[in-house]
């Protein structure tokens, strides 16, 4: 075997592969996708009044800047936000800030770690503080796991049905709407298992909140 000749072949194969698999293939797939499935290929963007509101697939925070004594509270130069009670809230997120869709990360909190326990206890406490005023019978035992455990991507667009039904009490009270109506909206925005078998049912929070706003007219 001629080593030199084989080395030249090795280099040439790599160049051919880069052109074929690294340039032609992804560009062709991009072109065909943009023609056949433009909505999906671009991330199922949701626009309202000409503005991009978000992506159906990406969870986002529904919070407002925290105001104290008429001034926005800041911490290390970043405005502090708090959940907006008029909206359904997404799952805990380990990204910084929460629901950061340009730098996703796992929480990586280990199963037997003190910090994990503290984080989960904190989430349970915050959840109860937010929801119990509107649903006095709510106990820690009823908090669904998805409401206290951080999601994997940090931008999970969904919450569980149980989580949504609990939050519905607050949303109904704050918006002065019958609970029945909110519950109906929750079930309308629940995605079942794909093809009836694959995955778990979940409620898309952004779509649900947009439907809420539509119900009360206008976006706010």
């Amino acid at each position: 075997m001629n080593l030199r000749k084989n080395a030249i072949t090795a280099g040439l194969v790599m160049v051919v592969m880069i052109v074929l698999l690294g340039i032609l293939y992804p560009l062709a797939v991009t072109g065909v996708s943009q023609v056949l499935f433009p909505g999906n290929a671009n991330g199922q963007q949701i626009h309202r009044g000409g503005k991009l509101i978000g992506s159906k697939l990406i969870g986002q925070s529904f919070s407002d800047p925290k105001i104290k004594n008429g001034k926005a509270v800041e911490e290390e130069g970043e405005p502090v936000t708090e959940p907006d009670p008029r909206y359904f809230q997404t799952r805990p997120s380990a990204t910084a800030p929460a629901d950061n869709a340009s730098a996703t990360t796992f929480s990586n909190l280990g199963p037997n770690n003190k910090t994990t326990e503290e984080a989960i206890a904190e989430h349970v406490k915050a959840y109860l503080e937010m929801e119990r005023p509107y649903d006095p019978s709510l106990t820690a035992a009823q908090v669904p796991v998805d409401a206290a455990d951080s999601s994997a991507s940090g931008v999970d667009p969904q919450i569980s049905q149980a989580n949504a039904r609990i939050q519905a009490h607050r949303v109904a009270a704050v918006r002065h709407l019958p609970l029945q109506q909110i519950m109906k909206l929750v079930s309308q925005n629940t995605a079942g298992r794909t093809l009836g078998i694959f995955g778990e049912p979940g409620v898309n929070v952004l779509e649900l909140n947009l439907a809420l706003d539509q119900l009360t007219g206008g976006t706010r």
Partner: protein
């Protein structure tokens, strides 16, 4: 555990059983030069490539020439990928203007993609330009997978070869694998993924103005074209940092199963390819059966463990039982749309094979649940395994099994009529033991040295698990991670001001390369050694390699080797945690 969860797992596996003979038979035709439909269309392309690369593909390689070609090709790929990633700033398709990552992280990334591992210290959406992802990483996803398949096919040719030393022509095997197997499935698969919501765009990142008046920057990119080959080639490197947990990579329950089918399809099919090429389909199904048993045990344990929940959840006062509208279980680091069953299945399949894609945070799994991916790695990635590498390592184990079986009944060990002698057993044993030895040595070094311990995220036994998993995963070319373990400090997106952890990056790189290429050399040497042997007709005294007894023996050998090498390490991490409710 729920009925729907089990149904999902059963449907998935039934589809794998159905496609194994179809794809396996097709691949056997590709590697034995029989006519296939695609060669009518792609034949001219194939011949054109041979002219461009100046290779005479009619000339067969003996094992040394085959090995030399593999090594030269990998070296060329390494240099080109390093060049691409380090010159990122001067490429097109870099809408976010990302700088190149530091040299030590790039060194690790390049080695990792060359070895079909895709261990990721970097985070895709804050580090890599679209050009780097496409022309750099996607290309290696294809060709590193193809190299694995070529080596497996060469070993099969060695086993069936009646005379002479030829194992086929590496360049021809490589080009045919890419053109006739990987590329067509990838094109169709990518479009299927986009049809379900996986994104594929070259646009710059989106800026959304949310309904409460906040801004949200959303990373996008050419994801589907990389996602499909990441799974099909058992590579596992995600376009985004959170891999297949990211909704843009894996948007729903159906894509979750589709990606799993892509992962298992080729490793499973290769058992059928083996069966056809050696002239007895039962031989292939025997290997398939051994793999299936170990897969089933893994997914059951992981599913049960995650359903139970973690000590941290229980002491925090969170109730983890299932009730109407809630999955229950350990949802820390899991996505609602996959739940417990979809997450347990994905991460079992992905660590059975050397894929290492994840749709949940492995670091957050229960002690026992996290032990399943570890055990899958500890058995040497033979539960279907990496494309090609799963089969060739499994065949090394089969050699060991016939040897041990032969000793027990006092017969000359043979595989498919070929006598297995001292030389083959020596080569196979070393080929098998290199990987665990590399992993254990690196783990020991990383735990003993302060420079290694800076990479740890969680305290206590979980920190040991992270370290052990990191080197085990890199040595087995898997690429999944207890992702708290870090080799890259990146204060902000775009790599400005970032630096790598040299110790972890370089120790990992050594681990990756050594445990990939040394076993490949030993496998090809075994192939060369078997190729020249005469076939003796089987008799009554021949130990069969296609019946239940052999399947049990094979599983026994694999577990024995894995348990003996890794039991102490497994005790220190996951076993400690799964037996206690104590918090560290």
């Amino acid at each position: 555990m729920t009925l729907m969860g089990w149904l999902q797992i059963a449907v998935f596996f039934a589809i794998i059983v159905a496609i194994t003979p179809l794809l396996g038979g097709y691949m056997a035709r590709v590697y034995t030069g029989k006519p296939i439909i695609l060669s009518r269309v792609l034949g001219p392309v194939e011949r054109g490539i041979y002219r461009v690369i100046r290779a005479d593909v009619r000339k067969e390689h003996d094992w040394k020439a085959y090995a030399a070609s593999v090594m030269l090709f990998s070296l060329a790929g390494w240099l080109l990928l390093y060049l691409i990633l380090r010159t990122q700033t001067s490429h097109p398709f870099n809408p976010q203007g990302f700088h190149a990552a530091p040299w030590n992280v790039t060194f690790n990334t390049v080695t990792s993609f060359l070895t079909n591992t895709n261990w990721q210290y970097y985070s895709g959406e804050t580090t890599m330009s679209y050009f780097s992802q496409m022309a750099g990483l996607t290309v290696q996803n294809f060709v590193s997978a193809a190299v694995g398949i070529c080596v497996a096919v060469a070993l099969i040719r060695g086993i069936v070869g009646r005379s002479g030393k030829g194992l086929g022509n590496f360049w021809q095997d490589l080009v045919r694998t890419v053109l006739y197997v990987l590329l067509p499935i990838s094109i169709i698969g990518a479009l299927v993924l986009v049809s379900q919501g996986t994104i594929q765009t070259l646009s710059h990142y989106l800026t959304a103005h949310t309904i409460t008046g906040l801004n949200q920057s959303i990373a996008v990119g050419p994801t589907a074209s990389q996602e499909v080959i990441k799974n099909l080639g058992t590579n596992g490197g995600g376009f985004f940092n959170t891999n297949a947990a990211h909704p843009f990579e894996n948007p729903n329950g159906l894509t979750n199963i589709f990606e799993l089918l892509l992962i298992f399809s080729i490793p499973a099919a290769l058992t059928a390819t083996y069966g056809r090429m050696v002239g007895s389909r039962r031989q292939g199904w025997a290997l398939f059966a051994a793999m299936t048993v170990m897969f089933a045990v893994g997914v059951t344990v992981l599913y049960a463990a995650e359903t139970h929940g973690t000590p941290a959840q229980h002491t925090a006062g969170l109730h983890t039982q299932l009730f109407s509208g809630s999955t229950g279980g350990n949802m820390e680091g899991k996505e609602q749309r996959f739940g417990i069953a979809g997450s347990a299945l994905f991460n079992t399949v992905s660590t059975d094979t050397s894929t290492g894609a994840v749709n949940a945070g492995l670091d957050s799994m229960t002690g026992l649940g996290g032990a399943v991916p570890m055990a899958n790695l500890a058995t040497g990635e033979v539960i279907f395994g990496g494309v090609g590498s799963g089969l060739y390592v499994m065949l090394l184990y089969a050699l060991l099994a016939v040897f041990i079986g032969g000793l027990m009944v006092g017969r000359t060990p043979e595989l498919l009529g070929k006598k297995i002698e001292a030389r083959e057993i020596k080569l196979a044993s070393v080929g098998i033991l290199i990987t665990p030895l590399t992993a254990l040595a690196a783990t020991g070094l990383a735990i003993a040295d302060h420079a290694g311990r800076v990479s740890i995220f969680n305290a206590g036994p979980q920190g040991f698990s992270e370290t052990f998993y990191a080197y085990l995963s890199q040595a087995n070319n898997n690429g999944s991670a207890f992702a708290g373990y870090t080799g890259f400090i990146q204060p902000s997106a775009g790599n400005i001001g970032s630096h790598g952890v040299t110790f972890a990056d370089l120790l990992g790189s050594f681990n990756l390369a050594f445990a990939r290429y040394v076993p490949i050399l030993f496998v090809l040497a075994v192939a060369g050694s078997l190729a020249g042997k005469k076939v003796a007709p089987g008799g009554l005294g021949t130990m069969r390699t296609d019946n239940t007894t052999f399947v049990v023996l094979l599983i026994g050998v694999i577990i024995l080797v894995g348990a003996l090498t890794f039991f102490p390490a497994l005790l220190l991490g996951p076993v400690v945690q799964s037996l206690t409710g104590h918090l560290y």
